[in-house]
Structure formats: C-alpha cells, structure tokens
Symmetry: C2
Subunit: 207 residues, 2 copies
DNA sequence: TTGAATTAAACAAACGTTTGATTTATTTTT
DNA sequence: AAAAATAAATCAAACGTTTGTTTAATTCAA
C-alpha cells in the first residue's frame, strides 16, 4: 500500500503545485486532497521541498534521452528529425500539462538553487542537441542559415505559450476565453499545434 | 515623500516577486529591501494582494494601446506593421523583464480570480488585434494562409522563453550557462532576437 | 493644530515539521 | 501453523515559526 500512496502524494502535489504554485500549496491542502495524514509527506519525502525535488528529478530524467535517440538515428533526414522532435515535444507537453507547469514555475522562480541548476543542465543539453542537428543540415546545405538556439526557443516557447492556462489556450483556439473546454486532451488541437510549428519551422529552414 | 515611497514599494515588490514569486515573498522581506516599515505596505495598498493587483493593473493598461495604434496606421503595409509589433514587444519585454516575469506567474498560477480574468482579457485583445492584421494580409494575398493566433503564440512564446531566467537566456546566446552576464540589457542580443523572430515570421508569412 | 506618515509591538491564523502512541504488515521463532 | 517479535505505516495532537495584518503611540509636515 505504501508505494501507491507515495505516488498518490506526488501526483496530487503536481496537480496542486501547477494550480496554486509551490509556495501557494500547503501540506494541509495536499494531505486533504490526497486523503492522507498531514505527517505522510514528511514521512515519505522528508520535507515539502524534497517532495518538490523528487517530482522534478523523476520526470527530468525521462525527457533527457528522447532527442538524443532521434539525433543518432542514421535512417532519418535532418528535416524528418526536426519534425519528429516537434511532435514528440507537443505530445509530451500536452500529455503532462500539470507537470510542465510545475517545471515552468521552477525555471521562473529560482528559490531552490540546486534544483534550478539541474533543470538548467537539462535545458542546455536539449538546446545543444537540437542545435547540432540544425547545424548539420546547414553544413549539408539542406537548411538555410538560421539562429538555431533561438529557433528551438520558438518551438518550445510556442508550446509553453498555449500551456500557460487552459483559458488562455482557448483564446488561441477560439479567439475567446472558455472555462469549460479542456484543450490539452483535444486531438484536433494537438494536430493543429503540431502542424503550425512544423510549417513555421519548414518555412524558416528550407530553401 | 509619500508618492516616492509608494512607488519604491511597488518597484521593490516587482523585483522580489519576479525572483521569489508572490507567495514566496513575505512583507518582511519586502519592507527590509525597500527600507520601509512593515506596516507601510498595508498603509498604502491595503493588503499584500492589493499591492499585487496595483502592480498588474498599472502596467497592463500601458501595453494595451500599443498594437491598436499600429493596426490603425494607414501608412504602413501589413508586413511593416508585423515587424514593428515584433520589435515593440521585444523592446518592452527586455526593458521590464522583472515585471513580465511577475505577469507570467500570474498567468501560470490562477490564485487570484479577478486579476486572472483581467490579464486574460488583455491577452485576448492582443491576440485578436494581431490576428486581424494577419487576416487582412491574407485577404490581400500578400500573406500565405497561416494559423494567425498560433503565430502570435510563437512570437510571444519566443520572447517569454528567453525571459524565463537570465541563466537560461545565456544558454540560448552562448550555448552554455553564465551567471555573470545580463543578457536583457545587451543591445547585441536584443537585435539578434528581433532579427530571428522577424525572419521566422517573414518566412512563414511571405510567398 | 490638524492630518498624514511612520513606527515598534502585538495579534491571531496558518505554516512546515515533529512527536509519541497506535494500528497494520512482515519476519522470526517456537 | 500459531505465536511472538520486529518493522513499517498511519494517526491526532502539539511544536515553534513565520505569515499578513492591526493597533496605538509617535513623529513629521502643512
């Protein structure tokens, strides 16, 4: 029963942190929503801050390898790799929107120094891996000379922009706010987002 | 002496909120950094939350009219308008990075319902104003058929991405972390960011 | 002399955390 | 296989701090 409860606390924490922020979520809120005793968070994680670290560390590792795998795939052209990276990021971000909002907050607010460095390390690797692919395409003269790191910023930035809040996302979809629609689990929107980014990146990269 | 002190509190609050978040900043922190008495925040603003509202409301109004002015300018072509909008946003965001981090947090965390709605209202207007210009260009057949709201998300998203933290921004510039460099006040980087976004948008929009 | 500005001190409420007792589960011994 | 012993999980209650806010006295300026 213990491992399930530990995972339950983490999932509930992701939900609450993404909604109210880390400092804005009290352990009492968390315990109540997860239906566990207040003492359980400290029992399993040691402290509220270590719970936060556990959440980030567990998930950060998952994303790390994705682009590297694609980069090393010899059977794909550069533009195919880029298209797959875009789709992978959109799918990942839309599948775990709450978690990514928590990560966004961690990047925005640098209260926890060690954790912040760990996140920056991963971001750095992702930027550099993406840049390598682009620059290979430029050397092969299949890509135009572009600002590769900033193009990566545009891709991730676009996704983050719609991930900010469901309501804001609805404005991008319907051009007006909507409280009752969940855009993140909508397949039509997912495709639209992927298509937009891919077309934009194609226009920017290809002759 | 009073108006200066009120402004001093607001400026100090923007600095601290952007660094530690709203919930992560205590009135004692704020009072100490601004070198005022703890009671002054409540004396001038009524409460910590109303101070936050005052910050957002004051600045939100400023941004509002900018795009509308450009939209109504008859002497500019559509692509010229878009270029000016991009430059205006970059200049504004890089000039007040702390304030925009505070706004980012407000969008990410929806703790203060009224304020959140106000921010969403402004965002909605900006998206729709931008979209109008694009769709006019599409009707005139000077622009390709693009996803206008999502293109706006890409523009703002790119800027937000480098605005997340100075350290992360340095990774986009130097491809490695750097704690001692302030990218936001660097003219070279500002130009590079404007150029990248403009070129990307040109490629996406123009035949 | 009046009203605004400023202060130190105190307020109750909420916070993260710890305690020590109690229940539940697992292992060891008979 | 039953009983005893040990370990893990859960709990209500309390801990000491910190929080945002208020008070009532004092200083300052008009």
């Amino acid at each position: 029963m213990s491992i399930d409860k530990k995972e339950l606390i983490m999932q509930t924490a992701i939900s609450l942190f993404s909604e109210k922020g880390f400092e804005g979520t009290s352990i009492r809120d968390l315990a109540q929503k997860a239906e566990v005793n207040i003492a359980m968070v400290n029992y399993y994680f040691g402290s509220k801050e270590k719970l936060f670290e556990a959440i980030v560390e567990e998930k950060v590792r998952y994303i790390k390898g994705r682009i590297e795998d694609l980069e090393n795939d010899k059977n794909l052209t550069e533009i195919e790799k880029i298209d797959l990276i875009i789709e992978a990021y959109v799918n990942r971000f839309l599948s775990y929107p709450d978690f990514h909002k928590v990560m966004e907050q961690e990047m925005l607010v640098s209260q926890r120094e060690d954790l912040h460095q760990k996140v920056i390390e991963v971001v750095t690797q992702n930027i550099n891996n993406f840049t390598k692919i682009i620059e290979k395409g430029i050397r092969k003269k299949v890509f135009k000379k572009v600002d590769a790191p900033l193009l990566f910023a545009s891709i991730i930035g676009t996704i983050n922009q719609v991930l900010k809040s469901k309501q804001i996302c609805c404005v991008y979809i319907f051009r007006e706010s909507n409280k009752d629609f969940n855009p993140y689990s909508n397949e039509q929107f997912r495709k639209r987002l992927v298509t937009h980014i891919q077309q934009m990146v194609h226009s920017t990269l290809l002759q």
